[in-house]
């Protein structure tokens, strides 16, 4: 019995000690308690007395936010007193959205319910949404601002360069820079901050107003820091100003994304190609689901994306994505944009204007000029000048700005090709029900393409099907002259497939005959109508026979 008594004594004492340890842990050793004690010490005495040590949270049911971040970030809670300059206890930087109304995690990610730093910031195992890194905070805007309008990248860059060149920052401030002088000198008022000019709007007659001041002034900034600006440059500056929506970096990154043709393969919000993964929720990628065995550095989503841009096939075996040879700064920007693709299931009452306009009124988030549309949807495969592209390990993409091609291809041919794509090849259909482009947008693209080469469309034909050659002869000729590149039965090999139903339907006989006769410079397609050493010259009659033979595939593929 003595042994049992001893065992009872020691296990009981042990249990009491363990309970004591748990109590101590609960009441004195919690991280947030120590943080709040630290905060209280830094408060002025009269506030410190009234400051209770307790958990604090922001609850926003419609956004499903229960965010206890303010338990430590005490300067950010409604009515909280900030400790100026403290990285934790400081106030929230000036934003349109009050954290008290929106919570924290809606924008920043992380784990709102957690009360320990590591867990709350979310870079822990089993939390799918780590907090956005501070330098990428504005990617969080994408949770609600899913359709933020962006201008064409070249316009944006030009506008920005002009904005800097014309020294607007001398008086105006923009995203924390500039405003070294006051226009009315020492006693005058500050020039407006332009960081949100895109939302607040600006005086349409700003230039005239500025110019008048400049002319009236004798000395000072109005005289020295302002000068005449040509109309075209003013427009560029205005484009730049309209894009200033208080999310530095986001517009630039989105604009870059829309200049690289990424949407040729990737859907975003239902518009785009479907060769690659849908990117609508790319910002919600769970680091726990990614394979980091080939990714150097920290196991974070931005790192993974960066490595993926450098060598897609290394990270995703069998990836169809070409290595785009991007610079590090471009990769950083694309990363920024991808992380901003984090559409949250927020109720419509919380939708911002851009999303309402896009989803209810059908407005586009990108500009609808031909150039932007072409760079957004076509340039990744066809090149930014329509010169075609070659990627290692992939069939070459056709140079559609090729004058030989454009002289033969009517606008209708181009429009139909864009609208219906080429089934069986990588060219997707871009019609409204497929890739999501509207008829007028396709027209813009065709017009832009036409402009790239400067070649006028062919004269309209009265009859599109007139070739009536000998199909048997055509078959024999096809087998000897064409099949080596276009494959038996036109199924395509080195050269494109010809038995493609959409192609056969929209290509006119003239298009086919002339292409065979003149060939396509810059490709391996020779001109069969001219004498050459490498192949037999074909007569007009023979070419028509081949076209007649090819037409057979339309009815019996």
């Amino acid at each position: 019995m003595t042994r049992n008594k001893h065992l009872l004594l020691w296990t009981s004492l042990g249990s009491i000690a363990l309970l004591g340890a748990a109590i101590t842990d609960e009441h004195f050793r919690q991280e947030w308690r120590r943080m709040q004690l630290d905060y209280r010490q830094q408060l002025p005495e009269e506030s410190a007395v009234q400051f209770p040590i307790q958990l604090r949270q922001i609850v926003v049911p419609p956004l499903q936010a229960t965010d206890r971040c303010v338990t430590c970030h005490l300067g950010m809670i409604a009515g909280g007193e900030e400790i100026v300059g403290d990285p934790v206890f400081g106030a929230h930087p000036d934003v349109v959205h009050d954290p008290a109304e929106y919570g924290c995690t809606v924008c920043h990610g992380g784990q709102g319910r957690a009360t320990r730093k590591a867990d709350a910031h979310g870079r822990v195992p089993h939390w799918p949404e780590p907090m956005l890194l501070p330098e990428m905070s504005y990617a969080g805007c994408g949770a609600c601002h899913t359709h933020l309008t962006v201008p064409n990248l070249s316009q944006l860059n030009r506008g920005q360069a002009l904005f800097e060149r014309y020294d607007c920052l001398r008086c105006h401030s923009l995203e924390g820079r500039g405003a070294t002088l006051r226009p009315g000198q020492e006693e005058g008022v500050d020039a407006p901050d332009l960081s949100r000019a895109g939302i607040r709007g600006f005086e349409p007659a700003w230039y005239e107003g500025h110019l008048e001041q400049h002319r009236n002034a004798v000395t000072g900034p109005w005289k020295t820091s302002f000068g005449e600006i040509p109309a075209a440059e003013r427009t560029a500056i205005e484009v730049f100003l309209s894009s200033r929506v208080g999310a530095p970096g986001l517009v630039e990154s989105k604009s870059l994304f829309h200049s690289l043709g990424c949407r040729g393969c990737h859907l975003v919000g239902g518009v785009g190609g479907d060769d690659g993964p849908d990117l609508t929720q790319a910002g919600h990628k769970d680091p726990g689901q990614l394979n980091f065995s080939h990714v150097p550095g920290e196991r974070s989503v931005p790192n993974w994306y960066a490595e993926h841009f450098r060598a897609p096939g290394k990270l995703v075996p069998g990836s169809q994505m070409p290595a785009l040879e991007l610079s590090d700064s471009e990769i950083a920007l694309l990363n920024f944009y991808l992380l901003s693709l984090r559409r949250a299931p927020v109720p419509q009452a919380f939708w911002p204007r851009d999303r309402v306009r896009a989803e209810h009124l059908g407005e586009r988030e990108f500009s609808r000029d031909g150039e932007t549309l072409f760079t957004t949807f076509c340039s990744a495969c066809h090149g930014d000048q329509g010169q075609g592209r070659r990627y290692a390990g992939m069939e070459p993409f056709p140079a559609i700005a090729n004058p030989d091609f454009l002289t033969l291809a009517s606008d209708e041919f181009l429009t139909e090709t864009v609208r219906r794509g080429r089934p069986g090849r990588r060219m997707p259909a871009w019609g409204e029900k497929d890739g999501g482009l509207r008829p007028d947008e396709i027209d813009e693209v065709v017009k832009y393409l036409r402009g790239l080469s400067g070649v006028a469309p062919p004269a309209p034909e009265e009859e599109s099907r007139w070739a009536a050659g000998n199909a048997t002869l055509g078959g024999r000729l096809y087998a000897s002259a064409c099949a080596s590149c276009h494959g038996e039965d036109g199924r395509g090999q080195e050269g494109p497939a010809l038995n493609n139903p959409v192609f056969l339907e929209i290509a006119t006989d003239r298009y086919l005959v002339e292409t065979v006769r003149k060939g396509r410079s810059g490709t391996t397609m020779p001109a069969f109508g001219s004498p050459a050493l490498t192949h037999r010259m074909l007569s007009q009659e023979e070419i028509e026979a081949i076209v007649t033979y090819i037409r057979n595939w339309e009815t019996q593929p």
Binding site: L8, S15, E26, Q111, D119, H126
Partner: protein, 522 residues
């Protein structure tokens, strides 16, 4: 008790005095009303106390000294009961905050973890005591088997114990879904697929349309085609009401039967082996016990006082109570320590679109899951049912007397157990190594019908090997007990080997890895 103011007074002040007296003596009267036998100061009054107390009366008033040796039971039953008590108490506390609805459930666990005062600690205790309970319930069963405690008159209690084992596993399994995280979701999906697995057979016979026990079982378990809110509410109800109620009831019967079957098993010559009691022992009870004999006259069987005389017994109070309390506190201290050291797991919110890979069941089912990887029906249903039936039949197939109450008692003894362990371990490791290295039927002939794999797979091969080994042992020692020892040991070792393989050596797609560090992506 005499009333000094009992005499009636003419002025009527007697009632007031009595009232005053009654009021003053109320605490004492209350104590007497509760503890009827007065302060337990002597052996006799202590015995009456035990007998008269609802919470203590399932103990014998006196216990045999053999029972109190640590090696007799290693306190495993009490630890199991203690961990159940802990899970019960912490579980009730958790119910205050837990909300059994998908997504909300996950959030409520997060809140318990982060903001409910001591919530994390309580949840950890719940988790660890539940795990401890599963471990000790297995060990307790092994103890009962190896000391041949299942033999007459304890056959029924052995079967009750098996029911308790099944209920314990059921409680653990149902509790697994409640956090509604990835771990839970996919573990239960595996469970549901095991329930569906009779289709392996009905599909092969093309009778699923007419007779579909698999589909019915799954529907019964989940209340729907998929793990969803219906499943969650079912599992919740099972976890907090139905299974605990059954468990409590059966536990009561189990304990009561321990007493009625003559206490803890001991060898027939226990008295001789123990020798005279230690001089420090409480004096041996020599007076004629009042109630025990009365009761013994009614109760058929071998209450200690009837069979061997009271010489080698000691009063349950305090001897047994100290032992029980000590082990009880040991279990509590263990759970508290574990709860401080390690958090209960909580993975990502359940996401039906992102399967866990590998999705692993709780550890005590990983042995089964290892077999399920070959055939869900054989591994998940047939073999476990065979094992359970086999276990239930043991007391009726082995009716020998030799070795009762001794560790590894019976023909063959510890040596046979060692040989069986070696055989059980090596054969399970061998067959697993073979299947891992060379694959199984499916890898050799991809077109092979699943029915064949259902019949011929490492699980069935292993079961047959164990059966033949057990028959060999039975013939070799000419003893049913030897066969039972061999078979039980083999299955125990096989269970351990398969569990370890499933727990540590299986990675994504249930492929073999020497360590989780080698999993792709890490």
């Amino acid at each position: 008790m005499s009333h000094p103011a009992a005499a009636h007074r003419k002025d009527g002040s007697g009632a007031l005095a009595r009232f005053w007296w009654n009021l003053r003596s109320t605490p004492q009267m209350f104590r007497e009303a509760v503890f009827r036998s007065g302060k337990p100061t002597s052996d006799r009054s202590r015995s009456s106390f035990v007998f008269g107390n609802f919470f203590l009366h399932f103990h014998s008033v006196r216990v045999h000294r053999w029972t109190l040796r640590w090696s007799a039971t290693w306190g495993l039953g009490v630890i199991t009961a203690a961990s159940f008590a802990l899970t019960f108490i912490t579980g009730v506390l958790l119910m205050f905050y837990y909300k059994p609805y998908p997504d909300v459930a996950y959030d409520s666990i997060k809140d318990i973890h982060y903001v409910v005062p001591t919530g994390r600690f309580i949840r950890n205790i719940h988790r660890w005591s539940a795990n401890l309970m599963v471990v000790t319930v297995f060990l307790h069963m092994a103890r009962a088997f190896y000391t041949a405690a299942y033999r007459s008159p304890r056959e029924y209690n052995w079967i009750l114990g098996m029911a308790l084992l099944v209920l314990t596993l059921g409680l653990s399994f149902t509790g697994y879904l409640l956090p509604w995280d990835q771990l839970a979701y996919w573990a239960i999906t595996i469970g549901a697929n095991i329930a569906l697995s009779p289709r392996e057979v009905t599909d092969a016979l093309s009778i699923t349309v007419y007779f579909d026990p698999g589909g019915f079982q799954k529907l019964l378990l989940l209340g729907s085609d998929e793990v969803g809110e219906e499943a969650l509410i079912r599992f919740y109800l099972l976890h907090v009401m139905i299974l605990p109620a059954l468990l409590l009831m059966l536990m009561g019967v189990h304990f009561w039967r321990v007493r009625k079957d003559g206490g803890i098993v001991r060898p027939s010559d226990a008295d001789r082996r123990l020798g005279p009691p230690h001089r420090n022992t409480y004096p041996v009870f020599t007076e004629q016990p009042v109630k025990t004999y009365h009761l013994a006259a009614v109760v058929r069987g071998r209450s200690p006082a009837v069979q061997g005389g009271p010489e080698n017994t000691v009063p349950a109070m305090p001897h047994l109570f100290y032992a029980e309390a000590a082990v009880f506190m040991l279990a509590i201290a263990l759970c508290l320590a574990l709860a401080i050291l390690a958090d209960a797991p909580l993975k990502e919110l359940a996401n039906p679109a992102v399967p866990e890979n590998p999705a692993k069941a709780p550890w005590y089912f990983l042995g089964v899951q290892e077999l399920v990887a070959f055939s869900a029906f054989t591994g998940g249903i047939v073999i476990p049912v065979i094992v359970l039936i086999g276990l239930a039949l043991i007391p009726f197939l082995d009716r020998e007397k030799q070795g009762t109450g001794e560790w590894f008692g019976g023909p063959g003894g510890a040596r046979l157990v060692l040989i069986s362990a070696a055989f059980g371990m090596s054969s399970s490791i061998l067959i697993e190594a073979f299947a891992i290295r060379f694959g199984w039927l499916r890898e050799w002939w991809p077109e092979v019908p699943q029915m064949l794999i259902t019949i011929v797979n490492p699980g069935t091969v292993l079961t047959l090997a164990y059966a033949f080994f057990s028959i060999w042992a039975m013939r070799r020692y000419d003893s049913t007990r030897a066969g039972a020892l061999a078979l039980f040991t083999c299955f125990l070792c096989g269970f351990i080997v398969l569990t370890v393989i499933g727990y540590h050596f299986r990675g994504p797609n249930w492929e073999f890895y020497w360590s989780p560090a080698h999993w792709p992506g890490h």
